[in-house]
Amino acid sequence: MFIYYLRLAVKSIKRNPVLSGLMVAAIALGIGSSMTTITVNYLMSANPIPEKSHALYYVQVDSWDPHNAFNEDDIPNQLTWTEATNLMAANRALRQAAMSRTGGIMEPDNKDVKPFEVSARLTFRDFFAMFEVPFLYGNPWSARADEKREQVVVLTKRINEQVFGGVNSVGESIRLFGRQFRVVGVLDDWQPMPKFYDVNNGAFEESEEVFIPFMLKEELALPSWGNTNCWKAPEGDGFEAQLRSECIGFQMWVELPTLEDKAAYLDFLHSYVSEQKTLGRFPRPMQNRLSDVMTWMEDQEVVADDAQIMLWLSLMFLFVCLLNTIGLLLAKFSGKASEIGLRRAVGASKGDVFLQHLVETALIGLVGGLLGLSLALVGLEGIKSLYGEYIQALAVLDLTMVLVGLVLALVSSVAAGLYPTWRACNIAPASQLKSQ
């Protein structure tokens, strides 16, 4: 029966090519535009580390100015050097990593490769295990390297290719920031999207090119390549004074597998801040926060406003396209009144007629949906060319999105077809047969 209805549907669509074409075009445009914006929003709000996003927490404490809150009513989004190093030394979580961004010149021993500039992440060894960073060669550096401030480095795959031609470079020496570093590991491809561990310098920027122990910041007086905010000038001149000032420019993540662990860590933060208050720091009311990955992404408004505005507008657009389809279907089906009357008169039940027309609408929806998906591909290409490299990874249609698009097209076209179909099968057979 279904095949028969399908044949009828194809026939009916062919009989009214203009009207059917308009319907398909309307659905395709609606699906195309909304799938484009849904995809961008979906990728922007994607969970970058789904297996353990609930166990990873971003650490915040309020070390800010007694006279003004950091930002409206909010607490600072980063830590000072003092907090970063103290909380790391306390070692109260299963895993923990304070971090910040720096960079400098890399001079390969191989004279064929010109010196070049690299961005670097200063962090602790737990960074790699905590964020499940895949290694191609070697391992993270040791706890001893963190403690003894050893000049060791983990390279990304790309840098390893650039400098060592892609071979296993573990144990090799490389000149970085004017010092000799020893390679301990090479990462495999790794690009969390969004770059959740530090959203300060663009949530969709590339990960850093090399990773080095955090304490080298102090040891080598490395510059800050991230945002730094201050409410109070450093006391005295020089790198040390600046490092130990109340300026915030460091991030810290902790891994706390259970809610009890989280509660315990909050308690620890409370006692830590109380202790600091007795030392005359932390002049603001006590406010500490642990945010898991997705809460932190929301708090930092990782999904751009413009993307959300476009999403809402395009969903309204889809709605208009569906209204259009409803109108056109009404017109189409009422043109078929006599045919329906005849079918009813020779024995088709209301249900049969209903089903027949639903198949027809679903077919239109499916064709419109497929066309809409190809329009979405065009739309995403357009978005790529408009926004440039930073959005590249955000404008890809994956299998989930293709399915979402097709389901959206089917559901919305069938929903649009319900009323016209219901009207169509309520046609009284007698009235249609009379004039014939």
Binding site: E107, G178, G236, A304, S314, L323, G327, G382, Y387
Partner: protein, 405 residues
Amino acid sequence: MLEIGPIFRSLMRNKTGALLIAIQIAITMTIVVNAVFIVYERSQKMQRESGIDEANSFYLSSSGFGSNFNAKVTITEDLAALRQLPGVIDAVQINAIPISGGGWSMGLKTQAGVEYDGVGVAVYMVDEHGVNALDLDVIAGENFTATDVRWREPAQSDWPNDVIITKAMAEALFPDEHYSKTVGKTVYINDTEPMVIKGIVDKLQAPWVGWSRVENAMLSPEHLNNDATRYFVRTEAGQRDAVMQQVETFLAERHTGRIIRGLNTIEETRARSYRGDSAMIKILTTVMIVLTVVTALGIVGLASFSVNSRRKQIGTRRALGASKGAVLRYFMMENFIITTVGVLVGAALTIGLNIVLVEQFDLTPITWYYIPVGMLILWLVGQLAVFGPASRAAGIPPAIATRTV
């Protein structure tokens, strides 16, 4: 006008189609009017001037490495050499580039003390050539002299004695005084450290184009003793690209222990900083056009259908003496009534969506006259869309009334 009654009664008998069109028009208007408003705002934002000679300026970074790299010597020599190059008007070392997105901000206060509120300001560290290189006009007071300029050591936290601020900054600090009267006054940086206003420049934007106080900027007379540094170069009209080509190799050859990179024109920088806005404008414009076409096609489709199903009545009216014009007018008027309902609902929805956008995304409330203009445009779209089917209706011959089918 007398026909409104019958048209209205006939509409009420077949509500669904008309209602669908009305809702479509209402939503189309909601989207289009809000989108036009956003587009207008974004293009206003993009048209603001940075105050510098955008067409003829570029910048680059120089990162020294190796133990025998002497930043002070290199910078001094680089600047002297750059200023000698043919086609260069002036060149300056600078810590941040206007409208580039990255920079340094501080707060200035008119009274010393942590308890007073400061005014946020973008800091540009330049020497006495800064005003000329950035193409600024000193409209009150005077420019720095070579003796005002000091070296800022890495991680040095105090400030020079003099400062030049923009007119906008002067007005933000001293709202009750004419900007020219603020020359010689003392302002405080880092809560308590005094700086004397030496001059006022006409206009210079901060690095952050999305900042609400983008015209608050100050010049601090300093060179930076840093291995990694930035040079800003202004060239004579039309010479920029030629000079850029030379400068890269020229500087790289002057000192081999460094990397020259990040060579960019201000025009490219502007395009990159405003890329989101320009993309939004293009996307919204496309959406508006496609949406209007979809709605218009919907009107054409439904009107055609209603003409087709009323062929016999139309023929009868014509046979009874109605002119072609009367038939045309009937359908135009029918559409006018439907559209009127649509735009009235649309006006309310437009305001509703705008309120949501203002609350959720901090957009500005819509200017009132966008709404009547939007209504007018949709009336026009409706009339244009229905004109085709209506004139086909007018062309139906009276003879059709005599046929049975």
